[in-house]
Symmetry: C2
């Protein structure tokens, strides 16, 4: 379609469908070529918002002298502003995308300068037009929150939605999730879900998709590819692995932690390499990958939320720690070194375990195992009834404790569940590592 200089071009441009490719020359003569995405909330009148091929977004002011060319034909499978029925994009055996909010499905709110989640399916497709081309990706909005506001109850809800997706015939599930607590949710799902017939891939973004150089599109593309892999039957996290655009790590859900507040390669597996990698073309998997089960996928819950996670530090009084644990059925301590707390904490710990509270020990170092047999402190903690959880991350141990408290009938059974491998979460049992 040729440009039309005589009528007001805004009359036509404001009506373009999301995903339409357009080339536009603004009032100053600058030419822009990109795809129509939703306008920012405070974009004001006569601003057309484009995603450029560079990844940058730009708001182009449309004046009377603005000219434009539309790329021929309707955008292939592009979403309309009114969302098509989800079943339109569903194919049996495909990947299902569950959205929860978070940066990967957020946009800049120009009123506050902050970023707010978007839950609407059409907007998500507009930000990620490649999903419409990826073939058989069904989108199911589940939550609409930044991940710092998610709770263990949301993990259970997500687990149910994963089971439903596999029940509908999905061969893999992708969960778009805020990065803040993505590691916690990944661990929670790892313990909740059983008999997975395919991958459950959590993915996030460190930059919202309406921002220049968002990592959302590339992460999501990688996650969908990993979710298609037929060799994987477990919960993983797929995110950028470095500064290269086409290197992604596949982290086991129980090994991974957000280790940087803003870098796109923030997620790291602890105590060893990730489970696998994706280089933009092929998925490489390490030897310890858990293969798909025959299914059907099940939720083995419930989670019992009456547990806590407490990091120790010099100056933490025994009274404050005891008060923190008050009313809980279990607590994970992130102790120092091999799993230590100050000697004067032994009293409340003994008192807690005596009344059936499960006290589990991890290390705030994050790497290495706890070991109660090296120092007197460890032996005293062991005698006080503390359960040492080897190399589990504090977050993973906390998620596992919620799960074990929900399943175990008494403290002894809870401890047995804690110490038994459930989802490949133990990498190194104590005594099996310790390089010089």
């Amino acid at each position: 379609m040729a440009s039309r200089g005589s009528d007001d071009p805004w009359d036509r441009l404001r009506e373009l469908p999301l995903g339409q490719k357009v080339e536009i020359t603004d009032e100053r003569g600058v030419r822009w070529s990109g795809t129509v995405i939703p306008p920012h909330e405070l974009s004001g009148d006569r601003i057309l918002t484009l995603k450029l091929s560079s990844g940058y977004n730009v708001g182009v002011r449309v004046g009377p002298a603005t000219t434009y060319r539309l790329h021929e034909g309707a955008p292939p499978r592009a979403p309309a502003r009114s969302s098509p029925s989800p079943s339109d994009r569903r194919a049996a055996g495909g990947v299902e995308l569950l959205t929860t909010g978070g940066t990967i499905a957020s946009r800049v709110d120009y009123e506050t300068g902050g970023v707010r989640p978007v839950g609407d399916e059409a907007e998500i497709l507009a930000f990620y037009p490649e999903l419409a081309h990826a073939g058989s990706v069904r989108i199911t909005p589940v939550l609409d929150r930044l991940s710092e506001n998610l709770t263990p109850a949301d993990w259970s809800r997500l687990a149910e939605k994963v089971v439903e997706a596999f029940g509908r015939g999905a061969t893999g599930v992708v969960i778009a999730h805020g990065t803040d607590t993505l590691g916690f949710t990944a661990a929670g799902l790892s313990f909740l879900l059983a008999d997975l017939p395919g991958p459950v891939v959590l993915v996030g973004a460190q930059r919202s998709p309406d921002r220049p150089s968002s990592d959302g599109p590339s992460n999501l593309r990688a996650a969908v590819e990993v979710a298609r892999d037929r060799r994987l039957g477990e919960v993983v996290v797929v995110m950028h692995a470095g500064l290269s655009d086409d290197r992604f790590a596949i982290h086991r859900g129980t090994w991974v932690r957000k280790m940087h507040s803003s870098r796109r390669d923030a997620f790291r597996s602890r105590n060893g390499p990730p489970l696998g990698t994706f280089d933009g073309r092929s998925v490489e998997l390490g030897p310890s990958v858990r293969p798909p089960a025959a299914g059907p996928a099940r939720v083995e819950g419930p989670l019992d939320p009456s547990a806590g996670l407490l990091w120790s530090y010099p100056g933490l009084s025994a009274e404050r720690a005891a008060t923190f644990v008050d009313g809980l059925r279990g607590v994970v301590l992130a102790g120092t070194g091999l799993g230590h707390v100050a000697h004067d904490h032994l009293g409340w710990i003994r008192s807690a375990t005596d009344r059936g509270v499960v006290v589990a020990m991890t290390t705030q170092c994050l790497e290495g195992t706890v070991d109660p047999y090296v120092y007197a402190t460890g032996r005293e903690l062991l005698r006080s009834g503390v359960t040492f959880l080897d190399d589990l991350l504090p977050e993973t141990a906390y998620a596992k404790l919620l799960w074990a408290l929900g399943r175990g009938r008494d403290p002894a059974e809870v401890r047995t569940l804690l110490l038994r491998d459930r989802a490949g979460e133990f990498r190194r049992r104590r005594g099996l590592e310790d390089p010089p």
Copy 2:
């Protein structure tokens, strides 16, 4: 001295001074060559304990047929079992070693199988005979505890001892310290000490010195060398930097964290490389090193212990967090991502800051900065009176808060002190980093 086969050799061997070099052939004809170190507690009678040149220790049973050769002469400057007066080993301008207990000055307790600290100067010299040869190293025992039992009050005591050491003419101070909370103490001393005329070097060991392949001797040697460097006027941590025997990192005291429960290269600087390195021969320092002050060294205290450190996690209730903070003048939160907590925590936070409690935010990612301007959550926290501490480690922020509470007359002044650089602790202020 030739071996004497006729008398009972134990009569002579049991009286050997620590540090004496001896070659001994046991009843089975096996020959051992090493240095006399203190016997293990349960070694039993007629066992001579030697440190071999390989680093291994061995207990040799001395029977009537045992033969031995003593190396000629008394061990040069070796300690006797009765400790000589400290001033014997003091030289003006030398390095002073303060000991606090911890693995670096511990031994295996064969009754419990655990490791217990040793505080006796002669024993320390026996484990580290090279100290006697290092020239002008004075040893001052200060504490005798595993570091998980140290408190901020101990940091203040150590700071006073550092000032005393410089007052006696030391040009550098080494502090042998347990590794569990070494990072906390290093941060605390960084804020407490001012006008340092030379380096204050904290050092630890991940294996006790009576064990094979202890990292104590090599770490201590490196620490003494760094403490001799005349270009350094700040608190640093010196520990192995990798698996190579002669690579040591010099970490700024406010940047460093124990990141592995057992590896000898457990200590890592966050948000960038360490301050410098030592390769066994020379000290290399980066550009941001703080040079010595004219002195005299001073303690700028006191610390106010009425502060806490709380890590947030999904499921932490606002009530539990509020109760944890109850009675404190300040708290450091280790939030998720850019410094977030769940929305329902805003109430107690606002209430706390309204009554003058200082609430400071750091990131549990450990790397990267917090930033309240990206997400709605951050802006709401800012409006609730939270102080965002850029890229400070949670531990460092906690140590700084204890110090700022002790120095600031009101919450506003405490916040000003928190945000002002004190010891080079800020590496990246928000907005100055964010690689793609």
